[in-house]
Amino acid sequence: MPVTRRTLLSLTGQCLVAAAAESLLPFRAGAQGLPGAHIGDPNASTLPNVKDSIKFAVIGDTGTGGREQYQVGKLLNDARGRFPYEFVTMMGDNMYGGQGPSDFVKKFETPYKSILDANINFYATLGNHDDPAQRFYKPFNMDGKRYYSFRKGDVEFFVLDSTYMAPVQVDWLKDVLPKSNAKWKIPYMHHPIYSSGEKHGSEEDLRTLIEPLFRDNGVDVVFAGHEHFYERLKPQQGIYYFTEGGSAKLREGNIRVGSAMTAKGFDTDNSFMLVEIAKDQMFFETIARTGKVIDSGIVPRHGTTPGIKAGS
């Protein structure tokens, strides 16, 4: 069987069933036995943690100021011990309800204090619960812009305001995506254009407008939030979509049972992601509030055949 891009996502645990169904290659040897693995257990990590790779975390729908946000925040900080990520991407809904000065403290500065104190940058996108003026809040690194891009090594991130995708923003994306010479182009935004969520589901209007741009401009991976759970979608038109909207809120049992789009879903607890991009591979690990790794794998960059083999 020819090794295609679609066949290369490697998975663990219960995902192996889906993996087999999609002709995926098994995960590398070091990651065997991942179900049950915990943060803090160095043998559990599926991330290669190599020098000069791009390491970051993904959190979404965080701004509750509640217990779960603080618990995930602590785990996120603890994870730095074994995986020194350089920055954190935020998938929007950075602040629910009040958006006053004390809310910034309670819903952002305090739960992530240790991370902020370590000078790790957060890069936020706006969600439908966010005051657009959050873009002027310096720790969100939006530089006053509703949509923007930033580059880290071989990776360029395109941060979109999916709450208001007016033509001017689409025109901007049409301009910057093709111009980017980054090896990896990773858009992220609040609303998922593919989702198995019962509450919201896929944002089809948005998909109509921006999916062709993703497809035609070498996008490999897209991150989103909005749905209060974790979902990894089966590749859609060759692109891997992740929804991480459960880093504080949780919509328990909201992933449609039997959804043909779901490669892996987790809607029973809060979660966050750790991601590492090393050359032509993107490694990811999704961690529940309990510390348990609930999903992990490798996404190859388009046009590459990295030849991941079991035991390699």
Binding site: G98, K138, S162, Y164, G201, E203, E204
Partner: protein
């Protein structure tokens, strides 16, 4: 400002008719005359609509000029690490705009003809939607609140997403003014201050 403004096919036809007529008349006057007359007969409202959109454009520009002038007198909204400072700048600007527009009333920004066009565009958009995408539009649209000019959108209300394909067909706005749904109404929202600048009532079907 022109770059910000969507000229709908309808309005574009109206705006271009005189130019088209000038250009073609120089070459084949009789045929151009006939063409213009025929188009005007087919769509006599095109020029009126183009004028209404131009009026909308001018009013928006006037609002932006006012906001710019007020911003200059205050601390402008710019990146700050201090949320209290950000809130103060935002509130000061909102207060200044409120004061300057204290007599503003519905329709001051959106001319009646443009409001009608927006209404029609939204109705057409909803007609083409299937029940699932309709449901998606109404998801998180704040309910049971009525827009009031110069009031801010409440913090507790999510900024419901206006469908991008619909936005494509509405008259374009500059980046810091936005259309947002509120119950069954559509508001023109200042994206920096969350002030309601104008609104049109009952544009959305019951949901």
């Amino acid at each position: 400002m022109n770059a910000y403004f969507a000229v709908t096919r309808f309005a574009l036809a109206g705006a271009l008719l005189p130019l088209l007529a000038d250009h073609t008349m120089a070459q084949t006057p009789r045929r151009a005359d006939q063409g213009v007359a025929q188009r005007q007969a087919e769509n006599p409202n095109a020029n009126v609509q183009a004028e209404a959109l131009a009026e909308f454009q001018q009013r928006i520009q006037k609002y932006l000029d006012l906001r710019m002038e007020l911003s200059r007198k205050l601390k402008p909204l710019s990146p700050t690490p201090n949320p209290a400072d950000l809130a103060a700048r935002q509130e000061n600007l909102a207060a200044a705009i409120r004061e300057a527009r204290k007599n503003a009333k519905p329709g001051d920004m959106i001319p009646t003809r443009v409001a009608t066009q927006i209404r029609t565009t939204i109705a057409e958009d909803f007609r083409r939607r299937n029940p699932d995408t309709k449901r998606a539009v109404f998801n998180e649209v704040p309910e049971r609140i009525r827009p009031v000019i110069n009031k801010t959108m409440p913090d507790s209300a999510a900024l419901a997403t206006v469908p991008p394909l619909l936005l494509n067909n509405l008259p374009r706005l500059p980046d810091n003014l936005q259309y947002r749904f509120m119950d069954r109404d559509i508001v023109l929202l200042d994206g920096d201050t969350r002030l309601i600048v104008d609104y049109i009532l009952n544009v959305l079907p019951p949901h």
